[in-house]
């Protein structure tokens, strides 16, 4: 084994292979984040259930009950919860990924490992929350007596993968910017709040009428719409929208990896 250290380095397939070699570290970082996340809280992992549940209740009362927002003919709570579930996974993944380098600053400046491991690990951590809060969805489906669309269920892993790619891809870009400009930390939560309103989480895309194509620019639109079709089966799956999301996901992860790799070597100097 020969390591050659040079001033400049090109992004090659070896970089991807290296992540595979460091998969144990990826596992340990994920494991650490999961372990530590709810330490020293009184109700622990219940927070993972509590947060989306409360949002659902509030949204159902505000928008479903008072606002009378249409929900494609399904009960509003279950309609909004599917959106919230994916949305929460997306936002927390993106937020964690973008701060992953800074929160591990002491490790980044002292030890070598492929830095890509950090944003990936912090995104993986959120799968646990996702799975736990999915139980609420199951309860809701039992309560409202919805039978999931079986063929549709098969595309759920695909939807999660797309969400993962979008989150981790943009997370990598933001993480590398965050190393130099800490503005990301302040701008991102605000931006995510805005983004929620241009994503059909609390309303169906049909509400935008002839402007609904604007929503399609947001890659999460296709994912959330497809998730509703798959789980509730009330509307047919919009394959075109989903394809746009998938392409956006692949593009984001490609750009993310390249951008990250280009800036990676100077992280320890500027962080």
């Amino acid at each position: 084994m020969v390591i050659i250290i040079r001033p400049k380095k090109r992004v090659t397939w070896n970089d991807i292979w290296e992540i595979w070699q460091y998969r144990e570290l990826l596992y340990f970082f994920t494991w650490r984040d999961i372990k530590v996340k709810y330490k020293q809280t009184a109700i622990g992992i219940t927070w993972a259930v509590f947060q989306p549940f409360m949002s659902m209740v509030v949204f159902s009362i505000l928008f479903g009950h008072f606002g009378k927002i249409p929900s494609d003919g399904v009960p509003y709570p279950i309609f909004v919860f599917i959106g919230l579930l994916l949305w929460q996974f997306f936002t927390s993944s993106l937020t964690n990924a973008s701060s992953s380098l800074i929160s591990n600053q002491s490790i980044v400046t002292k030890v070598y490992f492929p830095r890509l491991v950090l944003p990936i690990a912090s995104t993986l951590t959120n799968f646990v929350d996702f799975i736990i809060s999915s139980f609420i969805l199951i309860c809701l489906m039992v309560y409202y007596q919805f039978l999931p669309n079986l063929t549709g269920l098969f595309i759920l892993p695909l939807l999660l993968t797309i969400t993962f790619m979008i989150a981790v891809g943009s997370g990598m870009i933001l993480a590398s910017i965050n190393v130099k400009y800490r503005d990301v930390r302040y701008a991102l939560p605000y931006f995510m709040q805005m983004l929620l309103f241009v994503t059909p989480v609390i309303y169906p895309p049909s509400i935008a009428g002839k402007y609904s194509w604007v929503l399609a620019i947001n890659p999460m639109t296709g994912v959330i719409k497809a998730a509703r079709s798959a789980i509730l089966g009330t509307t047919p799956t919009n394959w075109l929208l989903l394809a746009i999301s998938a392409i956006a996901g692949v593009l984001l992860i490609l750009i993310g990896v390249i951008f990250f790799k280009k800036t990676e070597r100077f992280f320890a100097d500027v962080i």
């Binding site: 084994m1 020969v2 390591i3 050659i4 250290i5 040079r6 001033p7 400049k8 380095k9 144990e24 570290l25 596992y27 340990f28 650490r32 372990k35 530590v36 330490k39 020293q40 591990n104 002491s106 490790i107 980044v108 400046t109 002292k110 030890v111 070598y112 490992f113 130099k180 400009y181 800490r182 503005d183 302040y186 070597r265 100077f266 320890a268 100097d269 500027v270």
Partner: protein, 433 residues
């Protein structure tokens, strides 16, 4: 056989502009631009035309290390030792040059990298091991050894935040000591922990080098440790290799090197470790300090038992009567007021000496009974309208060379800060013939 590490023309440049003032915030830039657009523009233009302040932390570093060698890297603060290790361990890229490394490399630039306070000792062993690059199977295999080396069996399932700092260091070193890379890079990790544990660490490192035949690059200010562990040393100064060769030779070169104290050229006027108390407008401030060895050369490295002299001077704005001047010596890393001695001049005749202008004080140590350690020199001026106190004006490094084989001496050294001159004799009953 090919060398295991081959460094060719390695240089590393830092732009000081970027380092200063922490991180840049886009908001700051914007508000500055809006508040005072003219000044902002001027600054920007000035920055474009002025040459950037560059700092070469490493310049043209060339060396080769053979398999199984233990190389010590020494040099004054800011010589580039840590940067060299960071470049070798791929944390930061070099600006020019190329390094070839033939083998698995692990670096220990800090003990306990990645320790998480909320996790238990057991969990942290695994996490830290993984961060240092140990495969999980290896950690599992060595788990018991690590635990017994650290001596924290009882607290294995206690969160790390309840550990004392000493326990954390022990645990951290225990994990690190059980790594099995081909090449190990170590940066000043022995500076922590109590004397007994340091001894244990040194023994372990000795074992790693001698028994396992691993290659080690070892940065330390502890010259004795370097002398014991390494047969070869590299002396760095201002980012360049000054000498590369057998440890003894390099160490004596280091001892003869002038101006190796913590501050450049002994200039104290810009010293920041000077606690200014309240609004005292001081009439005297320290400007310069230097240490002379027995040959009268300026050097902060003094040979064991060799006489030396400390010369320091201060500038007075006017005549300062009733001023007390003190000089203190303290072992480095000891508590703040734990001075071996603090010599004070109080006689009025002497104090009235402080006249407007530069006053120079010379303190001669004709008998040097200091044990080989690093000492911090404090100087203080105290009077009605005078106060200037610099707790670490310079460092004094008492070097011990070539007494490695003398076991008796080493036992003595462990027991205090002074090496009091005394003659040993022994009376034994005559054995019957």
């Amino acid at each position: 056989m090919d060398p295991i590490i081959e460094s060719k023309n390695i240089s590393k440049k830092y732009n000081i502009n970027h380092q200063r003032g922490g991180y840049i915030s886009l908001r700051e830039v914007l508000t500055n631009a809006l508040k005072n657009p003219l000044r902002f523009l001027k600054k920007k233009v000035a920055r474009v035309f002025s040459t950037k302040e560059e700092f070469w932390a490493l310049q043209d570093i060339n060396f080769k290390v053979k398999k199984g060698e233990a190389v010590g890297i020494i040099g004054p603060n800011g010589a580039g030792k840590s940067t060299l290790l960071k470049v070798l361990s791929q944390i930061t890229p070099p600006t020019t040059g190329e390094i070839k490394i033939r083998g698995r490399i692990a670096s220990l630039l800090e003990v306990g990298t990645g320790f998480h306070p909320e996790l238990t000792g057991r969990e942290n062993i695994f996490l830290n091991g993984a961060i240092l690059g140990m495969p999980k199977i290896e950690i599992v295999r060595k788990f018991d050894d690590i635990v017994s080396f650290s001596g924290i069996e009882k607290f294995l399932d206690t969160p790390l935040k309840h550990y004392s700092s000493g326990m954390q260091v022990r645990l951290a070193f225990a994990v690190a000591a059980h790594m099995e890379p081909d090449i190990l890079l170590i940066d000043e990790v022995l500076a922590v922990g109590d004397a007994e544990f340091q001894k244990k660490c040194l023994a372990k490192m000795n074992e790693i080098i001698k028994k396992d035949g691993r290659t080690i690059l070892f940065v330390s200010h502890n010259l004795q440790a370097i002398n014991q562990l390494c047969h070869r040393a590299i002396l760095l100064k201002n980012g360049e290799i000054v000498k590369d060769g057998p440890t003894q030779e390099v160490l004596s070169e280091y001892a003869n090197m002038g101006n190796t104290g913590s501050d450049e050229h002994g200039d104290l006027t810009s010293s920041r470790i000077r606690p200014r108390v309240g609004e005292v407008d001081t009439d005297l401030s320290w400007t310069k300090i230097k240490v002379l060895n027995s040959k009268g050369e300026e050097s902060n490295n003094i040979l064991f038992h060799d006489p030396f002299e400390i010369i320091f001077s201060g500038e007075a704005m006017k005549d300062c009567p009733h001023t007390v001047i003190s000089l203190g010596l303290r072992v480095k890393s000891k508590a703040e007021n734990d001075y071996i001695f603090m010599k004070t001049q109080v006689t009025d005749g002497f104090s009235d000496y402080i006249k407007k202008g530069i006053n120079e004080f010379r303190v001669k140590f004709d008998i040097n009974i200091l044990a080989p350690k690093i000492y911090e020199v404090a100087i203080c001026a105290d009077g009605p309208k005078v106060f200037d106190w610099i707790p670490i004006a310079t460092e004094l490094n008492i070097l011990n060379l070539g007494v490695q084989s003398d076991v008796l001496w080493r036992v003595n050294h462990q027991s205090g800060d002074l090496d009091y001159p005394c003659t040993w004799s022994i009376n034994q009953p005559l054995s019957k013939i």
